[in-house]
């Protein structure tokens, strides 16, 4: 977005060319599609498969698709899926144990993921990928499954033209403008019958792909229009995170009565952790065949809201919903900073939208903050 000198403009047909070029280069293109009355991420072969002319209405515990008055291709906010579904899949078989003559052998399961090209990666989602990189790649052990998917992925980012009712990326300083970590970045420009995309490249491969597309150089008017799109989105955020030192606020108030109040509403259903683009927890699943000759281990998504998440011999450490919600939120917003040098929240709003009872993380922070700054309750 900052580097406007090489900005180009492509048409919706040019976007189809982008899909074709990426496919020709061996990528499996994944992008937003309509399914089950939601906008999800799935394999994409043509731009007509995009949710053309659709938008979404989002609020705490509320998600509805609605018709737009235009034919925008990206006129909606994020849905229940995030790219973590592809980079850090819900289930990965790890290895098989084979027993013959009483001896055990271990055979790693070959992991051959496709090279993914993601179309329409929002700024908050790029921030989420950066966070998962820190968790899964930058420690003393790099997750090979994540690494092979992430390193080979081609990212077509998107400056947001629509803020959802639960979005608060602006107050988390992760969006709505795309800043770094992409191969190409698009801004959708819609003006009456004029429908175009401003495109900038952010990598060598992005530049090479862009060179293969039919394009025109961007004019000053295009650039002004693109900036206006982002600024309009920024001013339409549905939520905002209180601007305060959140880690200290939460860690100094681990026994605040608000935790019990939110626990009264929380169903401990784990939806927030499943839709969160940074939640990374997994468990190991061991199975064996009926003959007892082979056994298999898989890694699958887990959630700190489940009862056996904190199980140690004798019982679970966190049995109450209060303690589980507190664990999730203090990790996301406080201890995450100690662990990885960044908040674990990118302000995408998914946990708010997909919470069946509409618990709002920004509201929970605000409640503790307001209570503490007003001197606490009697």
């Amino acid at each position: 977005m900052d580097d406007n000198e090489d900005a180009s403009v492509i048409t919706p047909d040019g976007l189809q060319c982008l899909l074709d070029v990426l496919t020709a280069r061996g990528y499996e293109v994944i992008g937003p599609r309509l399914r089950d009355q939601a906008i999800v991420y799935d394999a994409l072969s043509g731009i007509e498969e995009l949710p053309v002319g659709w938008t979404d209405e989002q609020d705490g515990g509320h998600y509805r698709l609605k018709r737009r008055s235009d034919e925008a291709l990206f006129g909606y906010a994020v849905g229940p899926h995030s790219w973590k579904r592809f980079l850090h899949p819900p289930r990965i078989p790890l290895w098989q144990a084979v027993r013959d003559d009483g001896q055990m052998r271990f055979v790693p399961v070959r992991d051959e993921p496709p090279r993914y090209a993601f179309l329409g990666v929002r700024a908050c989602e790029l921030a989420a990928m950066d966070i998962q990189d820190r968790v899964l790649l930058q420690g003393h052990y790099a997750d090979p499954h994540y690494q092979s998917r992430r390193k080979r992925a081609f990212l077509v980012a998107l400056n947001c033209s629509e803020a959802g009712g639960t979005c608060f990326c602006d107050s988390m300083n992760t969006g709505p403008d795309v800043r770094e970590g992409y191969d190409l970045v698009l801004t959708e420009l819609l003006d009456g019958e004029d429908h175009a995309f401003l495109v900038c490249s952010g990598s060598e491969e992005g530049e090479a792909v862009l060179a293969e597309l039919p394009q025109e150089p961007a004019t000053e008017a295009h650039l002004v229009a693109a900036r206006a799109v982002v600024e309009r989105t920024r001013s339409n955020m549905g939520r905002s995170m209180p601007q305060t030192a959140i880690p200290a606020l939460l860690m100094d108030n681990l026994e605040h009565p608000r935790w019990a109040e939110v626990a009264d509403r929380c169903l401990s259903c784990a939806n927030c952790t499943m839709v969160c683009p940074t939640c990374f927890c997994t468990t190991m699943e061991d199975t064996s065949d009926l003959e007892g000759a082979t056994a298999e281990r898989s890694q699958r998504w887990d959630s700190c809201f489940t009862s056996d998440f904190s199980y140690i011999h004798g019982g679970s450490v966190r049995t109450s919903t209060r303690s589980r919600y507190r664990q999730w939120m203090t990790h996301k917003l406080a201890t995450w900073v100690d662990q990885f040098g960044t908040s674990g929240c990118v302000g995408c709003g998914r946990c708010v939208t997909w919470c069946p009872v509409g618990i709002d993380i920004t509201e929970e922070v605000r409640a503790i903050h307001d209570d503490v700054s007003s001197g606490g309750r009697e």
Binding site: L94, W95, A97, R99, G102, Q103, M104, R105, F106, P108, V135, L136, G139, H140, Y141, D143, P144, M251, L254, E255, F280, C281, T282, T283, M284, D286, T287, S288, G292, A295, Q299, D302, C304, D308, F309, S310, Y311, I312, H313, G314, V317, R318, T319, S320, R322, S323, R326, Q327, H331, T335, D338, Q339
Partner: protein
């Protein structure tokens, strides 16, 4: 991530439902470890559990683990026979501060099976006895019948360069030793709290009471080390299960200094 097959060389019973296994890697031979580290042991088709290394780190041929059968995996582990194979990943984690404690007095406080992860530290101290000041071992357990490594404790008690005190929660009348809880031994010790590194392992409640007694005696939080227990699945800091505040017990621990967990240890359900 993929375990290595290890064979059970020998096994012997320590206590009721508590066995020690001597394991030998099938292919690669021995492997080294630091006192306080743990391995993940996998039982075919059942699952995997973290078990601390409890042998002598200077003898790498066999890996020694003391296991109490309490769940599906550990019950299978204690029933293994010589020649059986299990899967092993490890060693993992940060162990006892053996190097940092050089030049200081070392006070080891163990409770129950918590002696197992401390035994490699005791072996290390004895092998490098000249590098340390006084070495005191306080051991508390339930009853005289529940004393782990009783024979070795008796031998250590005979040594002039090791001060050993054993206490039990309760006993019948033929027990001639001490009865009472292990933190209560601290005020009776004439030790230098400013030049002592304390290494504590046992049930979490015992560790909390012990830490309180150590702090009352004047030991700095930074000089008190605990071996924590939390659920562990991957042992690599990726699965999230073992988090205790900002600490991943599997990779930042299991041994942590008390200043790192201060304020959180006594918090309910944290």
């Amino acid at each position: 991530m993929v375990p290595e097959p290890v064979r059970v060389l020998r096994r012997w019973q320590e206590l009721d439902a508590v066995w020690t296994l001597e394991l030998e890697p099938v292919k690669t031979g021995g492997r080294s470890f630091q006192p306080g580290q743990f391995n993940m042991l996998y039982v075919f088709g059942v699952g995997e559990v973290p078990i601390s290394l409890s042998g002598d780190a200077s003898e790498t041929a066999a890996l020694v683990h003391t296991v109490r059968g309490v769940g599906p995996v550990s019950n299978k582990l204690v029933a293994l026979q010589p020649g059986d194979t299990v899967g092993l990943r490890g060693p993992f984690g940060v162990g006892w501060p053996m190097a940092a404690a050089e030049g200081s007095d070392v006070l080891i406080v163990a409770g129950g099976l918590g002696l197992a992860p401390l035994r490699p530290a005791i072996y290390h101290l004895m092998h490098h006895r000249e590098k340390y000041g006084r070495v005191i071992l306080l051991y508390g357990t339930r009853s005289p019948e529940d004393i782990l490594y009783a024979g070795e404790l008796a031998e250590w008690g005979e040594r002039a360069d090791l001060e050993v005190q054993i206490t039990v929660d309760h006993a019948v009348s033929d027990w001639q030793g001490k009865i009472g809880v292990v933190p209560a031994l601290l005020p009776t010790l004439d030790f230098d709290p400013e030049d002592t590194v304390a290494m504590v392992c046992g049930p979490e409640i015992m560790m909390r009471f012990t830490v309180n007694a150590l702090r009352d005696a004047g030991v700095e939080d930074e000089a008190i080390f605990l071996s924590m227990e939390r659920n562990m699945k991957c042992a690599l800091g990726h699965c999230g299960h073992c988090q205790f505040g900002s600490t991943f017990v599997c990779k930042d621990g299991p041994v942590v200094s008390f200043d790192r967990v201060r304020g959180l240890l006594s918090l309910k359900e944290f």
